[in-house]
């Protein structure tokens, strides 16, 4: 049953084969059993979740159920959740009980979904391995000596280990797609502006975007139906008509033009990853798609551009964590400046401090033009590359990450190596495009490989269709890690 799709859970609930309370109880039991090993959750509130489940059961009994009513969903701990500890993986917010719900949380509540817990993450979403969390690293359920990826590593792990049917994530430079790839699940980062950022703790505002993580594209479509939508409280939210992301799932792929950027298939990719990705593309050809070589010449600039812009915004976004109104305050200090200094020094981890320093530097007088302004110009060029490529193809494919999951500790002492592993995903955020990752096999040490699918703006329905058609003829997404078998 654990491997059921959201639709199957919904059918079971509707048919009263199982109650939401029972279903939630099952997943809670699993989470409590597995979490000490995986560390996927920061907070589990059994009673709160069960109360929500019982409320959902009443809705189901009254005939008012919607597609996700009664289904447990894990929330990344970056989404403010009323009455729940909301830490963002940081000591800074280790005492922060949110007084309000993020827009995404509100939407799941309104849909009748059950919050099954808050998932672990890199501190303030800064990291690609989940090793920067104040709450300790998350393990990859396929191999507990490996990282799950980051920053939405807890969500990826929870879904991969079937501790939750689905979860939310956020993606600033690949934080949904890379952990999805490394944990063998599916995840989509929608077009910037599709999912409200209200109540999502900000890392880099112009890049941050929430999205779903689940086993399959079909599940992602149902999740996105709940998550996407205009929100007046987010000025960057897009006012457009609501879409049904399920509607195109069954469309055949005949005639689909898949663009393969020549810059993506280079020596930096490990052979095991390349083999799995090429096999997946071969599968697509069988499904009737054509491939065409495209070029994204500025791909190599995406990492340096990102590591100017994201830290710049982060350095300012994280200024509110000053120990004055909420969050961590140093126990001892002599004056105001000392309070700021000690509170921030004691409560931010090394990676967060590194990015605040970089961001402060690039925004400083005399450096702003050389770094920030230049990076903004290059960002535009990167977006133009994609616009050019989409004249020749409908969708772009490549590897999500150049390698399978690396070992815990392997890159944590070399931030630049860590940053470079996000080269493919980062450019998508810089352009504001939608991107997703689906599992397409296994590489070295039997660790999962993800296929990166990038669509044009607002083509989420088509991307989900492309992913779903692949998942109809393959079963990578149905495979469960050995340690998570029922």
């Amino acid at each position: 049953m654990l491997n059921s799709s959201l639709k199957q859970f919904s059918t079971l609930l509707a048919a009263k084969k199982i109650s939401s309370a029972e279903l939630t109880g099952e997943f809670l039991k699993r989470s409590q059993a597995l979490n000490p090993g995986y560390n996927a959750f920061i907070t589990i509130n059994e009673e709160t979740s069960l109360n929500q489940a019982r409320a959902a059961d009443m809705i189901i009994a009254s005939g008012g159920a919607r597609p996700l009513t009664g289904i447990p969903i894990a929330q990344k701990d970056i989404f403010c959740t009323k009455g729940w500890l909301t830490t963002c993986g940081s000591k800074m917010l280790s005492n922060f009980i949110s007084p309000y719900d993020a827009a995404v949380v509100e939407r799941f509540n309104a849909a009748g979904a059950v919050n099954i817990g808050k998932t672990n993450m890199d501190e303030f979403a800064m990291g690609s391995s989940n090793e920067t969390s104040y709450y300790g690293p998350v393990r990859n359920p396929w191999d507990t000596t490996a990282v799950p990826g980051g920053s939405s590593g807890g969500s990826a792990c929870a879904v991969a280990a079937r501790m939750a049917p689905a979860a939310t994530g956020t993606d600033t430079g690949g934080s949904i797609r890379q952990p999805a790839a490394l944990c063998g699940i599916s995840g989509i980062k929608p077009t910037y502006g599709l999912v409200s950022r209200y109540g999502m703790v900000a890392f880099a505002s112009s890049l941050d975007q929430g999205g779903p993580m689940a086993k399959s594209a079909e599940d992602l479509a149902l999740m996105l139906n709940v998550m996407a939508g205009f929100d007046t409280r987010d000025s960057t939210s897009l006012q457009r008509e609501a879409e049904d992301y399920v509607r195109e799932l069954e469309k055949p792929l005949a005639g689909l033009r898949i663009g393969l950027p020549k810059e993506y298939f280079v020596k930096e990719i490990n052979d095991d990853v390349a083999r799995a990705v090429e096999a997946a593309i071969a599968e697509y050809r069988k499904l009737g798609a054509k491939t065409v070589e495209v070029s994204l010449p500025n791909t190599k600039l995406s990492v340096p551009v990102y590591y100017v812009l994201a830290p710049a915004e982060a350095s300012s976004n994280l200024s509110r964590f000053d120990g004055v109104r909420y969050g961590y305050r140093a126990p001892k200090y002599i004056d105001l400046d000392d309070m700021y200094r000690k509170s921030r020094a004691q409560a931010f981890g090394a990676e967060v401090k590194r990015r605040i320093l970089i961001g402060t530097y690039v925004l400083s007088h005399g450096y702003y033009d050389a770094y920030y302004i230049q990076a903004q110009k290059l960002r535009r060029l990167i977006a133009l590359d994609f616009a050019e490529a989409f004249k020749q193809c409908d969708i772009i494919m490549g590897p999500t990450s150049p390698t399978v999951a690396f070992d815990l500790g392997e890159k944590s002492s070399d931030p630049v190596q860590m940053y470079l592993s996000d080269a493919y995903t980062i450019s998508v955020n810089l352009a504001g495009l939608p991107g997703m990752s689906i599992p397409v096999g296994f590489g070295d040490k039997n660790r999962p490989v993800g296929l990166h699918i990038v669509g044009n703006y607002f083509t989420e329905a088509q991307m989900l269709n492309v992913a779903h058609q692949y998942q109809r003829v393959t079963d990578w997404h149905m495979q469960m890690p050995a340690g998570s078998q029922e």
Partner: protein, 493 residues
């Protein structure tokens, strides 16, 4: 050496929106600490700013009123610094592209008219307040004011004296109230001035090093602070010293400015465009809509009053210093076009002082323009003297209650003639029957032979004494002009 003082002002006008510039919290003054700070104002994790378009409307209004350029787009930027009453660790302001650029303000100092150019006006949010008293060595933070919309209006260094600076500040103060974008309450901090002051040798075209005096919240402090600061700088330079660029504070108790921080410790605010807010696009249709709602501006009205009513520049300027006075006067003069000067004198004199005494504004004047015109008409046609007119006004004031919603709402309604009733019932009608007057005067001459002799001996004062006696005998109801005429005639015999 002759020194020239050079002054530029930065005015922070709090915009009169009901809610804050980036949140839905109330901007009402005087609430319990932090009662008006919502999640956005507290900068809770995850909250986002949403621009209040009412604040933009008001910025456009000012831009149009000063003939400035409305930028589209303009950009909101973050000004980063740490302070306990700045909850986000940055202030949302505008930096490279402000909403308004350029424009100018015409000021009057004595008989001289002068134009002060504006650099820009930009939208920004106010910070909260740090309260250092009552917390036993700790600081209390009140975030009610955090997020209140401000329009920072920056002038060129075009003023050359504290009098000019005050005239500019007053003109701007009057303008923002005139166009209804700011309540102008300086005590509550709704209109605050920072003055940039420098001095240079007369005739030099190079600017001296400036000091900025922060947070001057009255015109008097503005004047005194500039005067002190100019004296300080001149004395320093004449002693062979140099001015260091500084931010200074004015201490009204000691009447001096003192250094707050120098340029060397000026912070690097690391301005950058706020990624949470889109560039502010202001289409022509938006500007046109605001424009159609703009009232006649004080400068235009001043010219009209001079031209159409033949008022002096002084009267026209005084009347247009405040929109409520101006509108009241306009309504009065419109109904009595034959004597605008009489109207002006009564509006600025009697009516103004009655209202002042009661702490009322012209919009809530119990006497409507139509009623005042009834009174002035009786003065003009000689039914009562001006002095009697004041007595009638006193009684009218007592009898007239304030009209609900102010006089403007009732201006087209018919008014009963209170004036004629009072004159009649109190017998205040002037004696202008010359037979009756001649008899009165003859009696006075007969009873005051000493004064008559003195007058004939050339003492002009004695004539006035006789007039006084006549008026007394007439119980003030005699027409003074007529009294003069008859008395002169009789004494000349």
């Amino acid at each position: 050496m002759q020194w020239e003082i050079v002054i530029g002002l930065e005015v922070h006008a709090q915009l009169s929106t009901r809610s804050k510039i980036f949140s839905g919290a109330s901007t009402a003054f005087g609430a319990a600490p932090n009662a008006e700070a919502c999640a956005v104002d507290l900068a809770l994790p995850g909250v986002l700013p949403v621009l209040n378009h009412g604040a933009v409307d008001r910025a456009i209004k000012l831009g149009l009123s000063v003939g400035g350029k409305i930028n589209s787009p303009s950009i909101f930027a973050r000004k980063n610094y740490f302070y306990p009453d700045l909850p986000k660790g940055y202030q949302i302001s505008q930096y490279e592209l402000p909403v308004v650029e350029g424009g100018n303000v015409t000021i009057h100092v004595g008989e001289t008219e002068k134009t002060v150019r504006l650099v820009r006006a930009h939208l920004e949010e106010d910070a909260g307040k740090s309260l250092h008293e009552d917390f036993h060595g700790m600081t209390g933070i009140d975030l009610n004011r955090a997020g209140t919309p401000l329009l920072e209006i920056v002038s060129e260094p075009d003023m050359r004296s504290s009098a000019e600076a005050v005239a500019y500040a007053k003109t701007l103060h009057s303008l923002v109230r005139w166009i209804d974008i700011c309540d102008g309450n300086m005590q509550e901090g709704s209109f605050r001035c920072d003055a940039n002051v420098s001095v240079r040798p007369q005739g030099s075209d190079r600017l001296g090093t400036r000091c900025e005096i922060k947070n001057l919240n009255s015109f008097r402090f503005l004047e005194k602070a500039i005067d002190y600061e100019a004296r300080r700088q001149i004395a320093l330079l004449e002693d062979g010293g140099a001015i260091h660029q500084q931010t200074r504070l004015y201490d009204p108790a000691k009447d001096e400015t003192r250094a707050m921080r120098s340029k060397e410790d000026a912070q690097d605010y690391r301005y950058f465009p706020d990624p949470d807010l889109l560039p502010l696009e202001i289409p022509a249709s938006w500007i046109a809509e605001v424009k159609s709602g703009l009232p006649e501006l004080p400068q235009q009205m001043r010219i009209r009053l001079e031209r159409d009513y033949g008022l002096s520049a002084y009267d026209a300027a005084a009347l247009t210093a405040d929109r409520e006075i101006a509108e009241y006067f306009d309504a009065v003069a419109d109904k009595l076009p034959s004597d605008p000067k009489l109207c002006a004198n009564w509006v600025m004199g009697e009516i103004s002082s009655y209202l002042n005494n009661e702490g009322k504004l012209f919009d809530n004047c119990p006497l409507s323009p139509a009623q005042l015109v009834q009174l002035l008409t009786r003065i003009k046609d000689g039914t009562i003297s001006g002095k009697m007119g004041k007595e009638v006004l006193r009684q009218m004031w007592i009898q007239s209650g304030e009209q609900a919603g102010g006089w403007k709402r009732h201006d087209s309604e018919p008014v009963e003639n209170l004036v004629d009733e009072i004159i009649k019932s109190q017998g205040l009608k002037q004696i202008s029957d010359s037979g009756e007057l001649e008899k009165l005067i003859a009696d006075v001459i007969a009873a005051n032979s000493k004064s008559v002799e003195e007058f004939k001996a050339g003492k002009e004062k004695a004539f006035n004494a006789l007039v006084g006696q006549v008026m007394k005998a007439a119980k003030g109801k005699a027409n003074p002009a007529q009294v003069n005429e008859i008395l002169k005639k009789k004494l000349a015999k």
